[in-house]
Symmetry: D2
Subunit: 330 residues, 4 copies
């Protein structure tokens, strides 16, 4: 049996994640990109919206994305759920990059309003390194948010120590705010500026919280995102208290055990630089023990559009279909 020739469609191809997905799939050795939809750009060439993408395809309507083996859904939350349902019903395997399937129904209702298909929840959470087996078998995978991907990869190895308190201080590039022009994303607003935003109510908070409370009561959690003047990437500096503080060797052993065999999680012996992961699917981690203060600090870096969105979506597709996990991502 060969896996080549599987067809792939993308719903919502005009934003940053959809455009990058199209690039990744177009370069993928086994996948064939057959549909990319965008209601605003219907009929125009993909390559006119994204000159880096070498493709003969033109944007179609959402309803025209049909008959594909794998579909990526990049529409805004709220809109995505119905599209996902339609594609699943048509027999596609689906990776949803919206927030529509990342939470349980009650939490979703609290942060986004009533969920349109609460019966579909919960869905397999597509943090590949943690849920690989479930992803392989799932018809639908909820691709994680960018901030939660970094935070959960950074904190997961600490769960056995009894995580009691967590602060996630995140610095994100502007592509995380989306492609829609606004006063906030104007060059003259961002350049030379740093700003903390949504400090009390960012929607990635419940997603991080959920990921930290698997099988019990999670730690207290504070999450403060900041915009910094660059295009791509997230650095999170994470301050954690645990029941039992390990020494450096013990800490290193925990991370080695968790990620020693992972292709896309790299353990560093110095704080990772954002530029070393920008444009890649790698998440780099640097954990250390702050003995004076009695806590663990982890610095995590990834590209919000790659491991934080489209790259991880392709990684999940590879797992779902049975291809090598790094196919199309190196």
């Amino acid at each position: 049996m060969t896996h080549t020739g599987l067809t792939v469609g993308i719903v919502g191809g005009s934003g940053y994640t959809g455009a990058l997905l199209a690039e990744l799939v177009a370069r993928h050795p086994h996948a064939q990109l057959t549909h990319v939809s965008s209601e605003q750009l219907v009929g125009t060439a993909l390559s006119s919206a994204n000159p880096r993408l070498r493709s003969e395809l033109r944007f179609c309507r959402e309803a025209e994305v049909a008959g594909v083996d794998v579909a990526f859904v990049c529409t805004p939350h709220g809109e995505a759920a119905a599209v996902v349902r339609r594609l699943l019903d048509a027999g596609a395997r689906v990776v949803d990059l919206s927030a529509d399937f990342r939470l349980d129904a009650a939490t979703y209702a609290q942060w986004y309003g009533e969920h349109p298909f609460p019966d579909m929840l919960p869905v397999v959470y597509g943090l590949t390194e943690l849920f690989r087996e479930q992803i392989a078998a799932a018809p639908l995978v909820a691709n994680p948010g960018c901030y939660p991907t970094a935070a959960l990869l950074a904190l997961h190895p600490l769960l056995p120590l009894g995580l009691t308190d967590v602060v996630v201080d995140a610095k994100s590039g502007v592509s995380g705010a989306g492609k829609a022009p606004s006063a906030r994303t104007h060059f003259c607003t961002i350049d030379s500026d740093v700003i903390a935003y949504n400090v009390r109510e960012h929607r990635h908070y419940p997603e991080i919280e959920r990921g930290l409370s698997l099988g019990g009561r999670g730690p207290t959690l504070t999450f403060v995102p900041h915009l910094v003047p660059l295009q791509r990437g997230i650095v999170e500096t994470i301050y954690a208290r645990v029941d039992e503080l390990p020494d450096e060797a013990g800490l290193a052993a925990l991370y080695e055990k968790a990620y020693g065999g992972e292709r896309f999680v790299e353990l560093c012996d110095a704080p990772p630089e954002l530029k070393d992961v920008a444009g890649t699917n790698y998440c780099r981690l640097y954990p250390f023990v702050d003995g004076r203060a009695g806590r663990i600090v982890v610095v995590a870096a990834l590209d919000n559009l790659m491991k934080g969105a489209s790259g991880q979506a392709v990684q999940n597709m590879n797992v779902m279909v049975g291809w090598s996990e790094e196919e199309g991502l190196l």
Copy 2:
């Protein structure tokens, strides 16, 4: 007689030039800022839109700007003319920062459409260093565009040599594109990018052309503006052919004669850096003779919002009212 206590109003205070004008006037030792209008922001505090501005004023409607001694008009071209007329009729001295009064009626019609008040044209052109006497006596001054200010200051000393051909290659920061959010001004569009724009039809072309053909036939002219990833400032590198190529000493003498006594035009012995003029009202010039190619090259740098807009507007107000020209600008 004292000039203190003159009242100043600004029509159109929500854009970059209006906001900077408000800052400059608020700090001006002799002027009293009494009105700043913005239809969208009516009723809100100036300081909420611009935290750097220490003022108790709130935005009013355009029609409420009345009874002022001096008015600055920062509305878009087309809208400005009627506002200017109203303010003139009410007895104010007016500096118009729009393009509505910079051209003759025929040229205006060609680039912008029919002028609403062609009988008001021509108006004194507010390039302070060149038209100081006329400005002092004028009820209305047409404040120059940012690109023409740099180009005309750079080229004016060459007119006696018989200017035959001019190329203006301009590099501008993004504030020149205005405050309105657009795909073009999104941080992720501008960062790491350089782009030539409006290469065939920029509206500052006729303004430069007019300034170079005073009293006769002007040189052939090519003007290509570029956006570069920074907020404020313009560098223009200007390539000129003249009937009689001077030597370095002769060239230097021409510029010294033109600007030796000027406060806000500085002659440099190396290409000026943009950052040395950013935030100031200075235009720096570095002319030199390219003997190999038989032409003159002039590098000019200024802050597009200061000497290229609001700073020169204040300079013009100072001249009109009889205050020292640098008042409020150092």
Copy 3:
């Protein structure tokens, strides 16, 4: 009695803080800048190194800075102490911007090596808002570091609540790394990058720690600085636990009490943007209660070269000499 005419000298005028101090003093209405030293630049004009500075002065040698009423010392730590001693002996009032007098002798020895004049310690700490009275009377003031200024202004109002744990996550512009070229400060290293640095051993740690343990045992403290791709400014997001968590109104009251009458500390009702303080002497604070996690979060923003260095140094000079505190700083 008039305060005008006091003479001011700067030792170490070629770095960022010294150059900015020269600008500030040159514009100061009551101070007269008479000496700026730099061993490398001896004899060259101040304005050639810094074209924004309008001054006829030339750099002199350190030993030539004499006979001044007030001296600012901007030499590196280790070198500063001897210079300070010489200037004090000569009768000058001194503001030292190095780290030489910020710590007690034992802590200094631990972080920097043996102090050359341990008998001179302790010295009045120049965080103006907290130690105004002592500064007014002091012959020598130790000007605080940039990170500690933000952290201590942000945390001081919480001391009455019983501060038990503090995380300071700082994001700094590159001027904080100094003017010396290095691989770290190369444009291509910094642009598009974020990096945590000196995560275990930054020398501002003991300075913050000392400021938080006045009169007793301080909180546990973690301090992680990051470089972000911009020139000037620091944003610190500070996560604090206290013995008794106040409600929002109680928290606001504490800050209002501490800073309600302060000119250069501004309380905000949203996270401050770095650009709103860049180029100013203001420190902006936004404290809020994170009820879910049971902690207080404070976002602080200031310009590292102004309130974090040269601006505060001038503020301290104003206090020492008896001038209005904002003289030369608005």
Copy 4:
């Protein structure tokens, strides 16, 4: 016969071009990277200097680069010639990225000093699109400079029209200034700045001049490079006068004829954006007729490290060895 398995060595792997070459060769499907030299980094892992490069190699000494089929020389001009000679003598095919073999001996002497091996000159000039056949047969290829690559690709199609006068106004990212830290490349110098540099004597001038005067007397030429605040890429706006001005269709036909079949030269119908070529080996061109001024304007954009250096070097290797020209470059 198969071409796989050819071994490749790089002399001078610690700068930007050498590091990028190592990345490109490491990913090349047919080439095997066996040596990368750097005297300063001898013994350290390539991946520690460049975390994006996945390789087990360590830096060796220049003298150890031996036995390779193809060698790239990235040492500074002056040093390169002797290395090239040694490698040629050892039987390698060599692409030299320094300036040592780009000029004739007399011109070299004028700009750089006496050439160490004048008898080796002239050498095939590695502008692939123009000299493909000679490159295929050459033991040594002189890889062009970044500015000349853009200028010559942009201007070559105009030669039949009789080029009489050329202005090349170039805007370059900072990687073009090299990796060595200096006051000029400090982040705080570059950020928010634009500066014209080497305006009278840039060493790429004679290289452009030589390329324009093949087979006769070239046009008058002015070349002014500028640094803009970004890392990678060059935009050149080129102003040309010709004996016979074509119309738009005629101009388009000339470019289509020159580059219609080229993989790495793309003709655009709007000015190219730098970011659309950054990270790629493409040069994008937008020529148009400025009828008013009677000249042709060409906007050219490329990545100075790719098509302007390392990418073109690989392209040349592909031609020399007989591989498909785009191998390892898509």
